[in-house]
Subunit: 86 residues, 2 copies
């Protein structure tokens, strides 16, 4: 399964393989170019939801929001937990 | 980028390529086997958040929660919007 290959390969490239990590990817494919894109708002809401479960600070989170083409947007959130934080 | 290849390949395999789609993947890698897994709760919360933005019914959503190994869980939510629903 290529997605998990992607996740595993990302893991190997980091120095600390034993850290706890949470990776969230949201891909939104719109049917029309002018249909609404709510990913920026969704990003804020998802982070809020995650904070219900884990104690994370802004520096633990890497966020990218990429407009791949007119109709495809991809939001990626990477949370790496500091050692023994929880 | 292999993740987008994955997304694109999934898209091609469906009959209706013009539909609006939202795909959410959450990968949680725990440091220890006995650390808490909150993905089932996170799944419910993320669906609730998505419903703030889009009018979806349960049959529009396909959810899989996979325990890949002792430390890696992967939650995948696929939302396909019916034609002209919104």
């Amino acid at each position: 399964m290529s997605l998990l290959d992607y996740f595993r390969s990302t893991k190997k490239s980091t120095a600390n393989t034993a850290k706890e990590r949470l990776q969230i990817i949201v891909a939104h494919e719109r049917r029309r170019r002018n249909s609404p894109d709510y990913l920026p708002q969704l990003e804020r809401d998802i982070l809020e939801v995650i904070r219900k479960y884990v104690d994370i600070s802004p520096e633990d989170i890497a966020v990218t929001l990429e407009q791949r083409d007119d109709q495809l947007s991809v939001l990626e959130l990477n949370v790496t937990f500091p050692d023994e934080k929880r």
